[in-house]
Symmetry: C2
């Protein structure tokens, strides 16, 4: 095969591997995804293992994750017994799945924990010594900052995800970065 074609393919696959690793996934996920993405035809597990020179076990496990994250889907090849996969080429879909399934959960969990902390402190205020009350007030301030921060992140994610758009980025670009946007006043964050 032409060496430039090959170079493009390889650097793309490697780059996607780097990206998935950066996002906290295994980089094999990215390389599998990239391999599928750069292949016009669907590929079987064996094809993938062969191409990337990794074991079938690893391909199998990572392909499961890939499917879970909506990065590829099975494809039926008539007359074939093997499973074939094809990449979800709409990156917008991919990123939305990841953001909603993972980052969103992370943020929600953080907010829950913080909420519980605040509640505990408030409920117990009566039992504290003067000294402890001071510390409790300090904690509430810090925890409040964190809450604001996470609520902000949650809002950003939600609005990002709320753009229902389909397969092209045109849909996303009604993202208007210059207009005023009126968020709640809750967004102060005392310097501390």
């Amino acid at each position: 095969m032409n060496e430039n074609l090959n170079a493009v393919n390889e650097s793309t696959v490697a780059g996607l591997g780097r990206l998935t690793r950066f996002f906290g996934f295994n980089d094999v996920m990215g390389r599998l995804y990239g391999t599928l993405l750069m292949n016009p035809e669907p590929m079987s597990l064996d094809d993938l293992a062969e191409t990337l020179q990794i074991s079938k076990g690893s391909v199998s496990m990572n392909m499961r994750s890939i499917e879970r994250w909506g990065m590829a889907r099975e494809v039926w090849m008539k007359g074939e017994r093997k499973k074939y996969y094809t990449a979800e080429s709409d990156l917008w879909t991919v990123i939305r799945t990841v953001l909603s399934g993972r980052e969103m959960r992370e943020v929600s969990t953080a907010l829950e924990v913080l909420g519980q902390s605040v509640e505990k402190l408030r409920l117990d205020e009566a039992e504290l010594t003067e000294e402890e009350k001071k510390l409790a007030a300090y904690y509430l301030e810090r925890v409040g900052d964190l809450q604001s921060f996470f609520e902000f992140a949650q809002m950003l994610l939600s609005s990002f995800l709320a753009a229902e758009e389909g397969p092209d980025f045109g849909g996303v670009t009604n993202l208007n970065l210059d207009k005023d946007f009126d968020l709640d006043s809750e967004w102060e964050n005392g310097t501390g």
Copy 2:
């Protein structure tokens, strides 16, 4: 110490550890940061090692990263020979430093690589067989999608970072993402 105060402290520290790990850093970084954040007074390396029950070496190394990422700064305690640290309590500053120093670089690198790929393919088009030209066209399409995607990410990051603001989140909010928010829609999703 009152057990609720303690619980709040610990869950916050643990939560921040989880967060830094999620962001691809060592979780000790988050725990150190959290410990500093939840302590009204600056703390020395020994204090931190003692509080988190980890070695001085680890504290030293991780505090270096923490400083690099603008998550804490040194504080001079008069009459003291030790280094004291205090957390940067403005989370906005922290996230900006991380986004601009790390994610931004990641995206730029990706775009560079993609740009080179495209150029190579275009320059060499003449030398390709018909078969290869077809594949090249396919590659260009895929790579083009990736470019759009990363350019979009870059734009989002830039506009996020362009909000020069100080300690409140008001400055960010001229980011208008879209029409309807639906904070109640369901975020729950298959686990990883």
